[in-house]
């Protein structure tokens, strides 16, 4: 079963002077095995939306269905949250909110141990996960506070991966990473996605959406503005949703303007763009 939002409302600090409505009647579905990107302005409710998925926030009204779990405002549904968090792993934007152990491997092993995995086994899982995110073995015994920001981000991601979640939710995972690090980490998410993990990625970078997403969710002022495939989104004028046009799309548009007969539906990344241009030139 996928993730399904059914008319979800969320209000921060209800009945107080600081009250703010973050979600206002959101209904959507995130398919199993999809690579879903969530885009929208700062303050459009993206972060609130993802926090509903593992019960960090409970909808003020409405229901969230995740696999066999139901998250709603009732006592019964709140008991199961612990197990839900094993299904849905959320990686927050700042790794510094998460790392605390003395060594990197211990920090990654911390997650599985919370779910009752024995220490040796947890360390085993930690090593595997650190390997998948590309942390060198020589760093395993180092403190997570000695390494660079990019590496810390990877360790934080490994910490969530160690829970073996079926759905991985990432809040702006590329923010503050250098371009190469960002590319590497995105490729890695793509690989995970190919192996069957559902990826939900919150981002401001429209180029990521163009290259990786199979599904796009556009949020605006706490409401779902649009949910469709990237192809359908970029066929329209995306600027009306206050989004940028991706670079590749811009190039495609310019090529078409100059009379090159290329087929936009075949272009999803830079290589395909080059191929299409070469083909059209012949």
């Amino acid at each position: 079963m996928p993730v399904r939002f059914d008319d979800v409302f969320y209000t921060y600090q209800p009945k107080s002077p600081f009250k703010s409505e973050a979600l206002r009647g959101v209904s959507l579905e995130i398919k199993d095995g999809s690579f879903t990107c969530i885009v929208g302005h700062t303050g459009s409710g993206k972060s609130t939306l993802i926090q509903q998925m593992n019960g960090l926030l409970i909808p003020s009204s409405g229901t969230v269905f995740v696999n066999d779990f139901t998250v709603q405002k009732s006592r019964k549904s709140l008991k199961n949250l612990h197990n839900l968090r094993k299904e849905v792993g959320i990686v927050f934007q700042f790794a510094r909110y998460q790392l605390f152990e003395e060594t990197i491997e211990a920090d990654v092993a911390f997650g599985p141990m919370n779910f009752g995995v024995k220490k040796e086994e947890a360390l085993q899982i930690a090593h595997e996960c650190l390997q998948t995110v590309g942390i060198d073995e020589s760093l395993y015994k180092r403190s997570p506070f000695e390494i660079s920001g990019g590496q810390r981000r990877r360790v934080a991601i490994a910490g969530i991966l160690a829970l073996r979640p079926k759905i991985l939710v990432l809040d702006e995972p590329t923010a503050g990473l250098d371009p190469r690090g960002a590319q590497e980490i995105l490729k890695f998410f793509k690989e995970l996605n190919d192996k069957g993990t559902t990826i939900v990625l919150v981002t401001h970078d429209i180029n990521i959406v163009f290259e990786y997403a199979t599904d796009v969710i556009v949020m605006n002022e706490g409401k779902l503005e649009l949910q469709c495939s990237p192809d359908a989104l970029f066929k329209e004028d995306v600027e009306k949703y206050s989004l940028e046009t991706p670079l590749i799309q811009k190039t495609v548009n310019l090529c078409l303007e100059k009379g090159l007969k290329i087929d936009p539906s075949k272009i999803h990344n830079i290589t395909e763009l080059a191929q299409e241009i070469a083909r059209a030139k012949k």
Binding site: Y12, S16, P17, L56, F100, F110, F115
Partner: protein, 313 residues
């Protein structure tokens, strides 16, 4: 984003919000003393306590502080209150003579019950007063006020400005730290940490997983703050001017005067020997006095409001 209500500034445009912070600090202290003055008899304590409660609640209403919020912040103290109750009721004061009822063979005295009620009343009033101050005064203004009161200490080379700056930064970062705590708790909950349930050992571990990132992040923040202050040329020894100059207005004068009256009245009542008046007269006298006081506050308020919003012609 955090839902803590106690000690948070709430933006409103009322008479109390506009008062001079220096004056508000004085008034807080004066009323606090009035609340804590003890009287010989419990009747007296409750009559005066009740009158003060009416006064403070009406001030809260004027300042648009929600009474519900006050009780929300009191909720944290319920355990403390309960403990106080138990200790007081089972260990009665030495002069206790009036037995209320028995629990088993243990006699419960009226005095003990009154004593604990008195403490609770004072606690509630104290919290209400503090909330009145913090909800209506911006933290920065509050530190200006404190700095003003500490000015004489400058003569003995006491670092008044530095301390005021430290306090204002600390106050400024309370909401930030609370937000941060919430974020860290969310990040760790996502990793299966359970902050609310579980064995003591696992909850201890949960707390560690919260405190270490909190410390790291605070150190990082303070370093960044120090750098950015230096980058903008901050020098603690330098002479500084203020953007906002504190002014004592007419409304301030009224507030100052009223608090003084309340304080004097309570002290007067405490020290006055009621030999001439019959005991029945005392409560009525006090009620009348406080009715007059409340009337005066209202008059002062109306005048202040009229002064600030003159009728448009």
């Amino acid at each position: 984003m955090n839902a803590s209500v106690l000690g948070r500034y709430v933006e409103h445009n009322t008479f109390i919000h506009k008062m001079d912070p220096r004056n508000k600090i004085f008034c807080l202290v004066a009323l606090m003393v009035a609340v804590f003055i003890g009287y010989k008899t419990y009747e007296m304590t409750f009559i005066i306590g009740g009158s003060l409660a009416i006064l403070i609640v009406s001030l809260l209403l004027i300042a648009k502080v929600r009474i519900l919020d006050v009780f929300k912040s009191l909720r944290v103290l319920w355990f403390f209150v309960l403990l106080l109750m138990i200790i007081n009721v089972f260990a009665p004061p030495a002069n206790a003579i009036h037995i209320a009822f028995h629990i088993g063979k243990k006699a419960i005295y009226w005095e003990a019950i009154f004593q604990s009620l008195k403490i609770i009343l004072r606690l509630v009033l104290m919290i209400m007063l503090t909330m009145l101050l913090t909800a209506t005064t911006k933290p920065l203004d509050l530190t200006y006020g404190l700095e003003w009161y500490m000015t004489p200490f400058k003569l003995i080379k006491f670092p008044v400005h530095e301390i005021a700056m430290t306090i204002s930064i600390a106050l400024r970062f309370i909401p930030t730290l609370l937000d941060e705590t919430e974020r860290i708790m969310k990040a760790q909950s996502s990793r299966g940490v359970d902050f609310k349930h579980g064995k003591i050992s696992s909850r201890l571990k949960a707390i560690v997983s919260l405190i270490i990132p909190l410390f790291i992040s605070s150190f990082q923040r303070s370093e960044e703050l120090a750098d950015s202050m230096e980058a903008r040329g901050y020098d603690p020894k330098g002479k500084r001017t203020r953007y906002r100059i504190l002014r004592f207005s007419f409304g301030d004068f009224i507030g100052f005067f009223l608090c003084l009256v309340v304080l004097t009245a309570t002290i007067f009542i405490k020290s006055f020997k009621w030999t001439v008046l019959t005991p029945h007269f005392i409560p009525w006298f006090i009620i009348a006095l406080f009715l007059i006081l409340i009337y005066m506050i209202l008059t002062g308020l109306i005048r202040a409001v009229l002064r600030r919003h003159p009728k448009e012609k």
